[in-house]
Subunit: 336 residues, 2 copies
């Protein structure tokens, strides 16, 4: 049925002008109760739903934002996406989803599409663009907010978790448990915050006067976490701080396969606190990202900007994570 009722149909049926229909429906201007009723009735009878594309053309705003995510399949990102969508909805904004996929080229293409669709603003979550095409980001003709990742000195509205501090907390927790030889499963540079988290581990280890952590590189996923673990065991670490929960789950699996008990022989800490972290075996001690807050911050600041607020071009805002201690960490062998 392309035969959807237009405002003109409603106007005709209720015997008023389209302007009146528009006003009644928006409630912007008072109307005589009788007219009001007639218009409302006509609209209902015709099952009239105003075309937001016509409205968008006129108002020059679509009330839509774009959401760019590298991989919606990653549990942390899908939680973030849910938060973003939900808050956007609260504010009357729709969300068009641009899932990154493998390459940065595709993300750029997606970006152009979003712009052609005239989204009012864009939320970018840990995209490849962030690092590889920072200059492109600055050229985007609509407000942008970066979540969970940073382009230094870009002046782009940014909110992240305090990654470095979070990783430090995780590591301090291990150290407090008596671990002296700490391993870190890192992630490639194209993963969000990989270097900050690595730094955080180093900070803690150095702060405690221990020797530098053993670092093995994963891929940010379970498989990489599993394969990185071997090197860590060989190096004799008793505590592992993983780049994220997925990597930690890989480590858990690898450890189990090798007959290494967790946390008796080796402790493992993750990062993110995805839903499943509470259900691994043993349940994963991890650094919880304030996912909902990140999403809310991002959308609400974007909405402010769309409302004309000029952002203080400040430095990235960073929200504090929180250590959630579960069963995958325990005292080092021979410690307290």
């Amino acid at each position: 049925m392309s035969g959807r009722a237009t405002i003109e149909d409603v106007a005709a049926r209720s015997g008023v002008s389209t302007a009146t229909v528009s006003r009644v429906l928006s409630g912007s201007v008072p109307a005589r109760p009788e007219t009001r009723d007639r218009v409302l009735a006509a609209a209902r009878d015709l099952d009239y739903h105003p075309s937001s594309v016509a409205r968008a053309l006129k108002r020059r705003e679509t009330r839509t934002m774009g959401l760019v995510v590298t991989d919606i399949t990653n549990p942390f990102y899908s939680q973030l996406a849910r938060a973003v969508e939900s808050v956007a909805h609260e504010h009357g904004y729709g969300m068009v989803l641009a899932n990154g996929g493998d390459d940065a080229a595709r993300e750029l293409e997606h970006l152009d599409l979003l712009l052609e669709r005239r989204v009012d603003g864009i939320v970018i979550v840990s995209s490849r663009l962030t690092r590889r095409d920072a200059h492109r980001l600055r050229a985007i003709p609509v407000p942008v907010v970066l979540v969970n990742d940073t382009v230094t000195g870009s002046g782009i509205l940014t909110v992240t978790t305090a990654h470095r501090h979070g990783a430090r907390m995780a590591t301090d927790h291990l150290i407090l448990l008596g671990h002296r030889r700490i391993g870190h499963i890192g992630a490639p540079a194209d993963q969000a915050a990989s270097s900050q988290r690595r730094q955080g581990v180093r900070d803690a280890v150095r702060g405690a006067g221990l020797e530098d952590p053993v670092v093995a590189l994963g891929d940010g996923g379970v498989a990489g976490g599993a394969s990185a673990t071997g090197a860590l065991i060989d190096a004799g670490v008793t505590g592992i701080v993983a780049y994220n929960d997925l990597s930690a789950i890989g480590a858990l699996r690898a450890l189990h396969r090798e007959g290494v008990r967790v946390p008796d022989d080796v402790s493992v800490v993750g990062f993110d606190d995805i839903d499943l972290a509470a259900w691994t075996d043993p349940p994963l001690t991890t650094v919880r990202q304030p996912t909902d807050d990140l999403g809310r911050w991002a959308v609400e600041h974007l909405v402010d900007r769309l409302g004309g607020a000029t952002d203080p071009a400040g430095r990235p805002v960073s929200l504090e994570p929180r250590l959630v201690v579960r069963g995958s960490t325990g005292p080092a062998q021979g410690a307290v």
Copy 2:
């Protein structure tokens, strides 16, 4: 800034009419090479990107589809969403995301929003709408395709996995391993295909001449899977078919907590084959849904319909799942 170049700017700069610009850019009609070049140059210089909202108003199609999902955070759905988005993108369609959240009312509201946004079609994935508001679905003025769930006799384009058969395969696998007392972790009726899967378990058990399965109700998530497991153990089952992988993960956890070994004492089978299923401890034997195929089928049939194809109003198409045997299943005690 809001000062984006319009087709008129391009026309002025290249000294032709807007009609010519439109034609050159769409390539629909041949133009003199020289004109062509001038137009292209102007467009490039001005960084012109046609407004798809103006185009949509004129053409009366937005080249956008709506995606309704109950919970994007559920790994199976996020995988499906990725598939859907990706195929839609292939066909030049954008995706606006409507994440269901808790209640059906919200989904209805989302639906209206999608319609106002004039999406050309809608993909509905296991939504609450499916069961509670079937009549509303039929009233949607754009083509709809249902994925992974069915509204019987609705004539709505539908693609699902062969849930019943899949559950039967899972159960047969257990039976073949010598299990005689089968348990099933079910899901509430508002979860997709919960009754079909339960039926499949029953089919297999009866087919083998065993007594009816013990059914304990979960909630479709990990927590529910874990709490349902107790009753199953008490009933003395040695093989558990879970509604889905999340429930199975819950079962794994509960079993572990009770000191029941998997698969030595009890075997567990999941459903979906989410990414993490391969990484549980032990790795989960499960029924793999053809997720990508579901997504592709849905989008491509929707696109066909948008192109004017009139669907054969047939019965739901169902795609075959496949049993993936991993470590969570083994011979029953005292069996072969």
